[in-house]
Symmetry: C2
Subunit: 362 residues, 2 copies
């Protein structure tokens, strides 16, 4: 196998690093941290011991005697990211009163493995060269290794769930995994298809993103032994938070500063993805604008200057604001779902996370 040489993070470097890149972003200058990031920091502060334990579990359980597996996994784990999903499992478990034991740690690692597996496969599918400001795994190790290591991490996640021994947790996460794949396939079907409407788009992001947010939160309530109503409330919090998060992701793809985003701006446009900003701009557009979208998105016939023009049209129709407004509705629903739990500092921060999802800049 021809492997592209590059500076790889070793397992030790990953171990040295913090759980997430909130404190130590591995990517270059972090410009101005947005104020919203303070919320994530405070949540991480409350859960510090759990986070360290989850980090250890992730490193320990991505091990394999086949060296390429931990090498590639370390590359994507070292790239950090917000680690929002495992953080949600930890937070939900604690919010639901989970006390002694380390089941939430193991399941947080599961959730991160499932997420990492989908990222690896996504980057192959999208032919992405950047992930979180670093070269993507497929760019470094090739598509083949990314597909197969994704499969390994996915299988390893199920091995961890089996060790945990709860069929209910297995049910939630196997169903979420199938739903993620369905959302990704649906997204592929809507690519370059301007007939994609808001309903279909929301179905895509409900599958590809919100399903795992929901499952991550729900399993936290399950390990805490809470009843069905509380489990459903946490699932609803996660589901709505995930919707808000993905809508904002799709807005940032057009609106962010590239250095802050850690990936290229306009990727969705170049790939002909039918995300909320384009759906709105296309809907509100005049004939000439619709012809522009037909050429660039449907016929996939783009020139260098087209991204700027797309941004112009999107700005003219306030499509970014509309996307953020839609995200705010989901964020409010997420906060509403938390009302079934007693007030606590942790609940407040989890509610603020929904605000963070909408106000973040990367």
């Amino acid at each position: 196998m021809v492997m592209k040489k590059t500076g790889l993070a070793s397992l030790e470097q990953v171990l040295d690093g913090s759980f997430s890149n909130i404190n130590h972003p591995p990517q270059a200058p972090a410009a101005h941290p947005a104020p919203a990031d303070g919320t994530l920091l405070r949540l991480a502060g409350l859960l510090d011991a759990d986070i360290q334990a989850t980090n250890q579990a992730i490193i320990a359980r991505m091990h394999s005697e086949v060296e390429l597996i931990p090498a590639l996994a370390a590359h994507i784990v070292a790239a950090g990211g917000k680690r929002l999903r495992p953080l949600l499992t930890l937070a939900s478990a604690r919010l639901c009163g989970y006390g002694e034991g380390a089941r939430h740690i193991k399941l947080a690692a599961c959730v991160e493995f499932i997420h990492t597996a989908t990222l690896l496969h996504d980057d192959v599918v999208d032919e992405s060269l950047l992930r979180r400001g670093l070269a993507s795994a497929n760019a470094v190790f090739g598509n083949k290794a990314s597909v197969l290591v994704g499969d390994f991490l996915f299988s390893r996640a199920f091995e961890l769930m089996v060790e945990d021994g709860s069929l209910e947790v297995l049910r939630i996460l196997s169903h979420a995994s199938a739903t993620i794949a369905e959302g990704e396939v649906l997204q592929l079907s809507t690519q370059n298809d301007l007939s994609t409407d808001e309903t279909r788009y929301l179905r895509v992001i409900s599958g590809k993103t919100a399903a795992l947010f929901a499952a991550a939160c729900e399993v936290g309530a399950v390990v805490a032994g809470r009843d069905a109503a509380i489990c459903a409330a946490l699932a609803s919090y996660g589901q709505n938070l995930g919707m808000a998060f993905q809508l904002v992701d799709d807005a940032l793809d057009y609106a962010a500063e590239e250095a802050e985003l850690g990936k290229s701006v306009g990727d969705d446009f170049r790939e002909g993805k039918l995300t909320y900003p384009i759906i709105i701009a296309h809907q509100k557009g005049d004939e000439a604008e619709r012809a522009f979208w037909t050429r660039t998105i449907e016929a996939n016939d783009q020139t260098e200057a087209d991204l700027a023009k797309a941004l112009d049209i999107i700005t003219r129709h306030h499509a970014i604001e509309a996307t953020i407004a839609r995200a705010e509705l989901f964020a409010e629903a997420a906060q509403q779902a938390l009302q079934s739990l007693p007030a606590s500092p942790l609940r407040s921060i989890m509610a603020e996370i929904a605000d963070y999802a909408v106000t973040r800049r990367h």
Copy 2:
């Protein structure tokens, strides 16, 4: 999404077809069915009702509202193949005295879904254009859809296991899935690497092929409620059968008639895969021959005429015979493992399946 148009099998066509292509090969003229195929036919005859039920379960459970999923899944399911793995689950369950109930049906479908998912990902990894004599799913639907539908089928397999409700089955199949991925990644690492020896090669095929054969048999014994010794005996039967099967696969890649094989001869050579025939030929080769392997396999510098020359060298060193002889040892071990079970017509046919694995021509 741009989808390449082609004649796709509908779900109905799949339903009309038999469980496997033993009776109705979907690919063109089946030339002369090898006598060994009679064994598979007799096994299928003994398990006819189970096979029909498994077929129905496979069709029913690969359904999704996202249309591309059943369309792509039907394409690969319609292509048939021997369906050896689910057949092994059914046979093992019955051999172990499983009576009432349909757990073995559901788990046979699981096993086939896991296998299908790995095939979809394999074909992406290998950039294969043919699978079982038909255009591969990636050639028809593209790599992206193949990766994602593979993920869906894999997740669906775990959903089915959760419905079944046995943590022991989940343990066996999640471990097998991780082992398959490890084997595939190891294979990728050995590609183009002439230092790969027999031990490493056997580790690759133990992971990528034998692990699922072993798990397929073991879960049959588990649903029948047999003790650990019998479960281990069935796992050993499957493991050794899988080793024999893969060795012969690797021999056929150089020795088969293309029309019978249903895929191109010499694919492994073109991909620089270090399979048993090449390892033997390289080991026994003189200096000039080693230089040939270094150029064609290690440097991946091949001309049109090189496959014929590779076949010449392989023939000169009886490397195909050596591969088959190695397979025979595994087949004997498989038959030995069956001795812990009482003699029965089914046990005899399962023993013959080990002979079939070695004598088959495709």
